[in-house]
Amino acid sequence: MTDYPPPNHIQPSPFAQSPPAFPREDHSIHEPAMALETPGEIDNEFIKEKRKKLGWFFWCCVVWFGLNVFVAIFVNFLPIQDPTLEVATDPNLPVNSGPTAAHWLGTDESGRDIFSRILHGSRVSLEIGFGGMLIGFAIGGTLGVYAAYRRGRFDSLLSIFMFTILAFPAIVFLIAFSAVWKPMDLNKIIILLSVASIPAVYRVIRGSTLAAASREFITAAKVQGASDFRIIFKEILPNILPTAISFFMIGVATLIILEGGLAVLGVSVPPPEPSWGNMINEGTTFINSPNSGVGPWLVLFPGIAFFLLLLSINTIGDKLRDFFDVTEGKL
């Protein structure tokens, strides 16, 4: 296993004790931001080492996101009404009612409880977001790291292929495929969306691997005789992880938005399954027939659910990227 000497076996260089050629603390990196109007006070702020904090808003978003995940997993054990219970089976249910004590977010035109449907819908959104991105990362990420590390013909051919798919307008093809691949179900949607996400993941991961692989410590590891496996897992992966995590979160948000769009168009998971996009799709009837008695809450509440989940995912991704963003000057 130890085909390269551990660091303490290296003979100390005779120059080891000599002072470094450049002072360690080089504040020229932290130059003050120069805008057209630069107030003088900014200078102090930039020279001071700012301790990075994630902030309270980040933790609020983590809590909300965790709540969504919890609901998505345990929704069947929660004491809420059956989301498919209709007026047809239970005539006592109110139809098109606004929020009441019994139905917190009201009911739709067939008497189904909107609150319960929203809780069930979070499962569809999260499964699609995370399922699609996990497959996307498993395939696109692996290929991206491998291609950027190997380079050569494999990399160029794969890159041409990936950039070709990337140039396709995904949504048009998604709609067309959903038409020919009937009947649609959750697994098929996840497969289609992950195929759409693979090239994007590939591009990002390949790019950051390329940047990491050209750094000096990779050369150092190679010179020491480290195996490819070790270099990829111990040297490259930790360096691309921050980018990967934040891109993963942004990708999850994008897939959730995309699936919602397909559902609003009526080509995603078929209707009896409660999903937020389906609910908005059913709710849009209130626009085209204002006197049908369907209230705006049918669109409003799934919209809020979308907004809060996406906001929390985007914030988590954004703050994590800022938090892990190590500038070259500090290395």
């Binding site: 805008a35 070709t164 995904a170 067309a176 919602g260 626009i287």
Partner: protein, 316 residues
């Protein structure tokens, strides 16, 4: 620039060929028989075979593919097997409202985003900048379809546009004012999502550009602020904005399709959804090809423009 142009052109042709191939696959890798989809209940083996022969579907796949590529390259989409109408006629009816919505919403988004982003970037971390930054980050999490559906009632009441979605579309050549009025709500709703993206991208880039050394240089030469802004800072900052327009196109198309289906406008999206319900594979194929080509051409134009604005991109 010349080599860059050639490179982009080669990629353009390659992408168009791939799009054609995939659009062809959608029909021909289908389980089942197109003739069955056309005749539906009236399908018998003899009738199906006769129809396949008359449509040329009995030939080997490569012959079909060649004639298909030939027809697509000449924009000859043929006659719809199901409705019997020429497909080019259907397309010429449903393309104008979609294209108009896309163009006008982008115009509106840019007209709003550029001045506001400049205002924010001139005083980074100022009150306006912080508020706008927070607000736009929040809006980033609101999908366009939520905006479209939620904004419909307040806007339509405010503008006094009747609440009835369908049938209000008036062709531009007939009465341009009524035409814009009939599409005003979808255009406003669509522009919000694009505006947020453009605002954020342009603001971030303008702040970086304004911190660059050549701006300090220009300031020390005593060039006026407005000249620095318009002549020096806008150009490097607009590269990212241009590529954001290209990336945003996918979301915009989804939004346009949804706007069409919500407001019942007879556009490409509505036509495509109708075709998927039939399913009218020939129409699906034609719409996929035309929409994809338009989006790819837009991206091609953006690539060329980026190469012109930033010659470093076109040089290598």
């Amino acid at each position: 620039m010349g080599r860059y142009l050639v490179k982009r052109l080669v990629f353009l042709v390659w992408i168009l060929l791939s799009v054609m191939f995939l659009a062809f696959l959608i029909i021909h890798l289908l389980p089942g028989d197109p003739a069955q989809a056309i005749l539906q209940q009236g399908w018998t083996p003899q009738l199906g075979a006769a129809l396949n022969k008359s449509l040329g579907l009995d030939k080997p796949l490569w012959q079909q593919y060649l004639s298909y590529v030939w027809n697509m390259a000449h924009l000859n989409f043929g006659t719809d097997w199901i409705s019997g109408q020429p497909i080019s006629q259907t397309l010429s009816q449903c393309l104008p409202p979609t294209i108009e919505m896309v163009l006008l919403s982008q115009l509106l988004a840019l007209v709003l985003a550029i001045p506001l982003a400049t205002l924010a970037a001139l005083r980074p971390s100022g009150i306006f900048d912080r508020l706008a930054n927070m607000g736009s980050f929040g809006l980033l999490s609101v999908p366009t379809y939520v905006v479209i559906t939620l904004l419909y009632i307040p806007i339509s009441e405010w503008l006094g546009v009747p609440n009835s979605g369908p049938a209000s579309y008036v062709p531009f050549t007939q009465d341009w004012l009524a035409n814009i009025e009939s599409l005003s709500i979808p255009i406003i709703a669509l522009s919000i999502g694009s505006f947020v993206v453009y605002f954020r991208v342009f603001r971030a880039d303008l702040i970086t550009s304004l911190q660059d050394e050549f701006i300090t240089m220009a300031r020390s030469k005593g060039i006026s602020k407005s000249r620095i802004l318009f002549r020096h800072a806008y150009r490097p900052s607009s590269v990212a904005l241009l590529s954001a327009i290209g990336v945003n196109m996918a979301g915009l198309i989804t939004g346009t399709f949804i706007a069409e289906s919500v407001f019942q406008i007879n556009g490409v999206g509505g036509q495509l959804l109708q075709a998927t319900q039939q399913p009218d594979y020939q129409l699906i194929q034609a719409i996929v090809f035309v929409t994809a080509t338009l989006i790819i051409l837009i991206n091609f134009a953006i690539d060329l423009l980026t190469g012109y604005i930033d010659p470093r991109i076109s040089r290598d």
